[in-house]
Symmetry: C2
Subunit: 218 residues, 2 copies
């Protein structure tokens, strides 16, 4: 495995979880020391991350983590619903039993974790696990869509979405809501009901959308 790809994945993960603060400058010089490689290598990785929007690049002023923004969260959520609903509908049509099995497994793992989270006193040690399980469930939803392009695009948007939410969003505040949503998505998908599945995916993410009421508060 090459250096480049390792560092890319490490930084991507850190940017999606809580390794950086929004708006913080990402100093290539510091990362160079941390990873023990040269500035060029770090720079390559940061450019790659900037192309998918995980860091912003300004000439002569380096890279920085995008600011958190309600409007951007709304945009990314909208795109996620669009891509995820479409991909899941395609999976329903062409996934077959193998996909249903994988989806059931992914949901089982996720819901098991969420149950434990619900009754845990200290949720901190679960955060990383939950993060992976939730992502795996949503990736599995679209995994049988048959379009790598759609999956890649969805992954880009999902990464940015997570990055935007990470600090504000306390996963545990909405655990019981999430459990219900995930169950509904699973049920609708297993029943082969495309329209209902689309609806449930939308409902699951709807709280991140800005409604007209919020834009123009009477």
């Amino acid at each position: 495995m090459s250096y480049d790809t390792d560092i890319f994945n490490a930084l991507r993960h850190r940017l999606m979880t809580n390794g950086f603060e929004h708006g913080q400058k990402v100093r290539a010089e510091h990362l160079r020391l941390e990873f023990g490689c040269s500035a060029s290598t770090i720079r390559e990785v940061l450019f790659r991350l900037s192309t998918i929007g995980l860091v912003e690049f300004r000439e002569q002023r380096g890279f920085r983590v995008p600011e958190q923004s309600r409007a951007l969260i709304h945009e990314l959520t909208h795109l996620r619903v669009l891509l995820e609903a479409e991909g899941t509908a395609m999976s329903i049509r062409r996934g077959g039993v193998a996909w249903e099995a994988r989806l059931t497994a992914a949901h089982h793992q996720l819901s098991h974790l969420e149950m434990r989270l619900q009754s845990a006193r200290d949720t901190a040690p679960f955060v990383d696990l939950w993060f992976d399980a939730e992502r795996h469930f949503h990736e599995t939803l679209i995994s049988a869509c048959g379009s790598d392009a759609l999956r890649d695009t969805h992954q880009q948007i999902y990464c940015r979405f997570r990055q935007q939410l990470m600090i504000e969003d306390r996963a545990f505040d909405f655990i019981s809501e999430n459990i219900r949503h995930h169950q509904q998505i699973l049920d609708a998908a297993m029943a082969g009901d495309e329209a209902l599945t689309r609806q449930k995916i939308h409902d699951h993410l709807a709280r991140h959308l800005i409604t007209d009421a919020q834009v123009e508060p009477a």
Copy 2:
């Protein structure tokens, strides 16, 4: 303007038009000589292009232009329809007169060019102009959608779509069809009919989709 960005745009344009053949290796060493910069600079740019899918990267084996593939064209078309129809519907809702004016202007330029193309003996000198006009029209369609994230994503997909089509697709073979399609999209959008506009955008791109009949030819 920095070197990096210049080279990035130059290569992106070349990859979208006809500067490279599908599957061809992109030798950083050669580009280094051509652009008169160092290998690292070229490498940075190629990594950025690889992140959006315009070149493929394999460790220790450099970069190459993606192969042309019917399946990929189908996937990219599908995504384009999804994003462009959604973005245009949003533009219809919130674009207002300013957007209508811009769209009319973009369409006028495009159709004027297509008329001349239709009657031209040698179409070669028009290709670049048509390329820009067509892209401008489609970008204008979604320009008032209010979501930078959607616009960025659409642009990525559009670039890859163009790259896949460039060699196979002889623009002039479908000029009269395109003229009709563009007119229908414009009319539906100006009439404020979201559903019809979505339909017309789909129809416009439908010939790049693989139908069931093609997949399983009796």
